[in-house]
Symmetry: C2
């Protein structure tokens, strides 16, 4: 990629683009191409093995990839009891409050069934019905992502999913982090399995002796998990959405608080080297002040290396005015969008491509990541142009129903006959004719 | 597949299963495995060519596969004018009535944005925003599927999709069927392109000089189109749902009208050799009567060969009682389910896996296929366990928004801090701390 038409200020940790021409936007806004297809062959083998050898394969892969031999994949009640004792009172209380907010927001997404009389004698309606078996994948690693359990488990519970399966990799001693077990238990998720990676996705997609088969799989993961989800999707298992590295765009004008802007950018950057961070502003001073704050705050971060690497790949874009900024952001379609601009409501009204939008100086992304109530499983990589984040909808199907009276089919019948005949589907026509032309 | 534990009555055109044991259901209900993956290599080449050579590739493939060289892919206004003259008054009127019903049903799916105060000082809401660019694929062949244009175009219009692109293959003279053009024009779809097959999917996914790039692709198609949709989905283009051959399950008891049952089975069977037809009943006499009717009605069908072939692959299942029938149907998860049973409302309440349900003796599937108002783009192949049919939702994204007051972040801040710290994301914690611990 060649950079032209903008200046790179060496000591600014983000790449700076001053008033780029619209013709350059596409190139500037391009995300790194991450294609899990190169792993397809490897991951396909894992899927195949699990499909054939089931638990035996899970045991083999867990031993190979996680360095531990697991005999019983299901987490025992005793393990859960022990975990509950290890979680601090403070964290328990925090999880409870966050869960309460998340529940409130997702319960409000329930839809009442409305019967619509579309035509005389014809009643049509939709009903939301829970997907009866769902699987949640929670990645391992040093930090326990218990917040994702809340984000997936709460709407699953509200939807009424009968069977909720949770897979998460064990550590080298064969344990799961207590916070994970506490959060799952808090949501009454009983089927927690010590299995991670592509093999966990395979287990939930096809079922093994231990792990039940599910109809839809949710949750983040590394590139192997991502590839596995895409491959099982090809076998008809539903997945939440295509995955990509997490992103934030901060749109700031002179009304912003530069230290907040910097903190928001860093809170995205600390996720990993590949995190995408974008600062859009119509004010050059904001850039300068944010830069100073970034340098200051970066120094104090334990995940400084991640954050610094990710910032080096990030971009600050100076736009002519608020309108141009809105247009650019809609073109980028960020997963998270923070609006630190004066007329944030007016701007929010014009945002058409984003996963979740945070309005004003006192609404950090971190609030939505944990506790405000909105879901944090959101479309990355520009998918916000066509995909929604996870919501109650993600855990239900909407089945349509219709009931037609004798009078209704008599009145609408000729319309259906005409259309069926024009499409040359005569049996379709007959099915209608018989019902109202019958003597 | 070995058939055991049931009797095949030779002169019955469907395979008969009498009171099969539950342990046999899985095998009986299995659909033929249709895997478009064998076409991946071929189709990938088409996608690659279109991505690189754009219109030139479209021209080449159209010439090769459709037997006609197209210079201008966009259908001209003049062509539309001429087409409108060729469509009968009666069909125009029928399309108008159907469109009106479909519009009523889909408009009712609009969701009002509700602001939820999840916590003191914290407001969260969702907004439905149209996917700005969508592509509709309408297959060619002898019968013009104008009804699918209504089913996709109407919700796209209601959602407010800015750009609606329609691709459909030309016939050997380079023309599109007048009913297709009339229906598209009726919905004010202006961008109609004469291109079909995998190359049409590629054109909409990547864009060419003629065909605009879209964010989501809808519509049925042959196995090449299906493979192309699944391959572009891997590139992040959204698609409506995984595809499979159309299906119907008719659940009938002694209150049914056997001639209606037979007509409904045939109206599915006529679609093609691979159509899936299932008859479930708790009454042996229904089987006998339906068989007689099937033989009678089949004789009169122009698509008799399709229907007969498809019936030969179809199954009639005798169940012990209504409850067992419900259980079996939920296990099958049919695309269409017709309930010709006495207590059809009670039965409908217990259906948890189906695309669309038709209640009572006077509600044929054909009504929903064309004109009652519900959508006919529905999950096949058991996908109804996790997928919904096309609806207004399919043409929008739901963006979440939140606004937090100074007081709100002060109150919820400590909760977020605790959770962020437990997940070892210190920059997340800082972004919150800064906002309320600031002097």
């Amino acid at each position: 990629m060649s950079y032209y038409g903008f200046v790179v200020i060496k000591d600014f940790s983000m790449k700076l683009f001053e008033y780029p021409d619209k013709s350059e936007w596409k190139e500037i806004l391009q995300r790194p191409v991450l294609d899990s297809r190169s792993l397809d062959e490897k991951v396909s083998l894992v899927l195949k093995e699990v499909k054939m050898k089931r638990d035996e394969a899970l045991r083999e892969f867990t031993s190979r990839f996680d360095g531990i031999t697991i005999h019983d994949f299901l987490v025992s009640e005793n393990e859960i009891l022990q975990a509950k004792q290890k979680v601090s009172k403070e964290l328990k209380k925090a999880i409870q409050i966050a869960a309460n907010n998340i529940e409130k927001f997702h319960i409000a997404q329930k839809e009442k069934s409305k019967v619509i009389t579309t035509f005389s004698g014809i009643k049509c309606w939709r009903k939301s019905v829970a997907i009866s078996k769902v699987g949640l994948y929670i990645p391992g690693g040093t930090a326990p992502l218990f917040s994702t359990i809340l984000m997936l488990g709460i709407p699953a519970r509200i939807a009424g999913c009968e069977e909720i399966v949770l897979c998460t990799p064990p550590d080298k001693s064969g344990n799961i982090h207590p916070a994970i077990l506490f959060a799952a238990d808090f949501l009454k998720i009983k089927k927690i399995y010590k299995v991670g990676g592509a093999q966990a996705i395979a287990a939930m997609a096809y079922g093994t002796e231990s792990v039940p088969q599910v109809y839809k799989i949710f949750g983040p993961g590394n590139q192997y998990v991502t590839a596995a989800k895409q491959l099982v999707a090809r076998d008809g298992v539903a997945i939440d959405m295509p995955a990509g590295p997490s992103e934030v765009a901060v749109f700031a004008d002179k009304s912003c608080v530069p230290s907040f802007v910097a903190a928001d950018l860093l809170s995205q950057a600390e996720h990993g080297n590949d995190s995408q961070v974008l600062l859009v502003t119509n004010d050059k001073k904001v850039l300068e002040k944010a830069k100073l704050e970034l340098d200051l705050q970066l120094e104090q971060l334990p995940r400084k290396v991640f954050a610094a690497n990710s910032l080096a790949n990030s971009k600050a874009i100076l736009v002519k005015n608020i309108e141009e900024g809105i247009e650019l952001i809609n073109e980028y379609a960020p997963e998270h969008l923070i609006l630190q601009v004066k007329n944030y409501k007016r701007v929010a009204d014009k945002i058409i491509n984003a996963g979740s939008v945070f309005l004003g100086n006192y609404t950090p992304e971190a609030a939505g990541d944990y506790a405000s109530g909105t879901n944090h499983t959101l479309p990355t990589n520009g998918y916000a142009k066509a995909f929604s984040g996870v919501s109650l909808d993600s855990f239900v199907k909407k089945i349509t129903f219709q009931e037609i009276s004798k009078g209704g089919i008599k009145k609408l019948g000729p319309v259906i006959e005409t259309m069926a005949e024009a499409e040359e589907l005569i049996a379709h026509k007959n099915a209608v004719s018989l019902r109202f032309r019958k003597k």
